[in-house]
């Protein structure tokens, strides 16, 4: 991977996502921002996919189990050329191909529909199992939220993945430490996710979820190690100046002016971080 290239991809995805949410006027900004760097690394440096052949059975799959953050994935798919970037402006409009929660029947590049939290990892484990049974290539990357891990079905899925030694699936935890109502610490304490996954029989890694090199290193290691989880330590709202607040940022009303300023700030920060790298 090339650090600058992937950082640029992350900035572009962030800007597309902010503009997309501003076009709708509101949306799930916090959790969308926390996964932009993860998506940038996946789609730039990790995934074996072809936007021109989105149904190749040997492709890598992405399941965004925290389906309310579809806007970040749509921005990524538009960035990759699955559909025209103009389509991002239709988010949540009646008849759109981009509904708030991911829908495989509506959006090119969406592999699995999600939105009822806790179900994506089971679906992903089935894709992994189906690939195994048919000798298909490709891996399955499932992104779950830290709040979402409160749903018990996730841990059923982890038991299944561990017992079956499914080495073609990677669980990615967006550990942004917040859920809709509050900090997870105040709602239901998470304790140590790495130890939890390890106790369930998976390999587990931790990464700085906003450092593209660390994300890449840990995802690559996880993909090679057998059934694995990567805990991405992230910040809800990260990289979008108006959403980087301690108060409620699960979803926000977003004006065009707010979006324009936030997008300029994304560019300023990218330039500044380039300077640090050079």
């Amino acid at each position: 991977m090339d650090r600058k290239t992937t950082m640029k991809a992350a900035a572009d995805i962030r800007k597309l996502c902010i503009a997309e949410l501003a076009a709708a006027g509101y949306g799930h900004i916090g959790g969308s921002m926390s996964i932009c760097d993860i998506l940038a690394v996946l789609y730039t440096d990790i995934l074996d996919i072809d936007p021109k052949d989105p149904h190749d059975p040997d492709r890598d799959y992405v399941v965004l189990s925290k389906g309310h953050c579809g806007p970040a994935l749509y921005a990524t798919l538009a960035y990759k050329g699955y559909f025209d970037k103009e389509m991002l402006k239709t988010l949540n409009q009646g008849g759109t191909s981009l509904p708030s929660h991911c829908d495989r029947l509506k959006t090119p590049g969406i592999d699995i529909s999600t939105g009822s939290l806790g179900q994506g990892l089971s679906l992903g484990s089935g894709v992994a199992m189906g690939k195994k049974l048919q000798g298909r290539g490709g891996k399955v990357f499932v992104i779950v939220g830290d709040g979402e891990l409160q749903e018990g079905q996730n841990w059923e899925a982890v038991q299944f993945i561990a017992h079956r030694s499914l080495d073609n699936i990677v669980v990615i935890v967006d550990n942004n430490k917040r859920q809709l109502d509050d900090y997870t610490e105040n709602i239901c304490r998470t304790f140590d996710y790495k130890s939890k996954f390890e106790a369930f029989g998976l390999h587990a890694f931790e990464a700085d979820g906003h450092d593209v090199c660390d994300i890449y290193d840990k995802l690559t290691a996880a993909a090679k190690s057998g059934p694995a989880a990567v805990i991405m330590n992230t910040e809800k709202g990260h990289g979008c100046s108006f959403a980087e607040i301690p108060g409620f940022n699960h979803y926000m009303v977003i004006s065009q002016e707010m979006a324009d300023e936030a997008i300029r700030e994304v560019d300023r920060r990218l330039e500044a971080s380039y300077g640090q790298i050079d």
């Binding site: 059975p57 179900q119 679906l123 484990s125 049974l133 048919q134």
Partner: protein, 322 residues
């Protein structure tokens, strides 16, 4: 002329053995078929499948939500999973997973719910589905099949294997009364007329088909002529057969081993009020939870006997004259 129930006796074969044989038959033709169990392969009788296709049998353990979500994911890659659990856990426990992980995203999952209604017998109220059909009727596009006896499995399982979508098979495990001869034909979505008559039509499914035949005999002894339909496909329900019954008989009694609300009785009622309203009585469980007992005891306890159907029919015929 012989009686309707002449030649009908307890089957020599268990329902689960006939089911698994039919499934193995399909699996020999289609290598995408897989069995998914939630720790019930012994109970539901899928063990022979595991013996013949060890790589294609997946016993998840006691995790129905994972089992059905995983099935949905497998089907995205082209597999054809048949997911098995007791009826309550196959539907009620995982309703959101059926709805969103399977049907909402147009995936191809076959759901087999064992022990319908009172056939759960000594497992009692926690294991006794009286609402599974009602739930599944609310799932857009789902097909619901309840065989009356073992002879329907080749047709039912064959249909499920060959047709895409979410299908629910509601099936007893144990020996049941054998209604049909070997080789009987079934068309999914088309009711089978087991007796013709002009005073009332008895529309039944599952174990209630035999009770309906007995009820027709009781009615005949009282001078009433009853048509008997086996409505083995509850969704899509056979509208033509219902309208014809309303036209020809002018009174209809439904009989189901299920809550009288939400299932066959509701399905038939909805067709009638939209087409040709005639008096209708519903034999089924009324506002009750299941409990333990023998199947015979429970059929009496919940009013699911031939006597209940015959009484409902007489009441229904009387309403025609008002």
């Amino acid at each position: 002329m012989g009686r309707l129930t002449d030649g009908i006796s307890l089957d020599k074969t268990e329902m689960r053995a006939a089911y698994c044989a039919a499934l193995i038959g399909e699996a020999r033709k289609n290598d995408k078929i897989v069995v998914v169990d939630a720790d019930v392969r012994h109970s539901v009788g899928t063990e022979p499948f595991y013996k013949e296709f060890p790589e294609r049998g997946i016993n998840c353990g006691i995790m129905e939500a994972q089992a059905i979500g995983m099935s949905a994911g497998m089907s995205e890659t082209g597999m054809v999973p048949f997911f098995h659990a007791f009826g309550v856990f196959a539907t009620r426990r995982v309703f959101d997973q059926i709805f969103l992980s399977c049907a909402y995203q147009d995936l191809n999952v076959k759901i087999i719910g064992a022990d319908p209604g009172v056939t759960a017998a000594s497992n009692g109220g926690t294991h006794m589905p009286f609402e599974d059909i009602g739930l599944m009727r609310l799932v857009p596009g789902a097909v619901i099949i309840e065989p009356a006896d073992a002879s329907m499995y080749p047709a039912a399982v064959g249909y499920m294997a060959r047709n895409y979508g979410v299908h629910y098979l509601r099936t007893s495990r144990r020996k049941t009364m054998r209604i049909y001869p070997d080789g009987a034909e079934f068309v999914i979505g088309k009711a089978n007329m087991l007796a013709d008559g002009s005073d009332v039509c008895l529309i039944a499914s599952g174990i209630m088909v035999y009770e309906a035949l007995r009820a027709a005999e009781m009615l005949e002894a009282k001078g009433f002529s009853a048509r008997v339909l086996d409505m083995h496909t509850i969704k899509p329900v056979d509208r033509d057969a219902i309208v014809a019954a309303a036209r020809d008989c002018g009174a209809i009694v439904t009989a189901e081993n299920h809550n009288a609300t939400g299932g066959l009785g509701s399905a038939v009622s909805e067709v009638l009020v939209e087409t040709l309203p005639v008096p209708l009585e519903r034999v089924g469980v009324k506002e009750s939870f299941g409990e333990v007992g023998t199947q015979d005891y429970l059929q009496k306890r919940f009013g699911l006997t031939a006597e209940n159907i015959a009484a409902a029919a007489e009441k229904c015929i009387a309403r025609k004259r008002v």
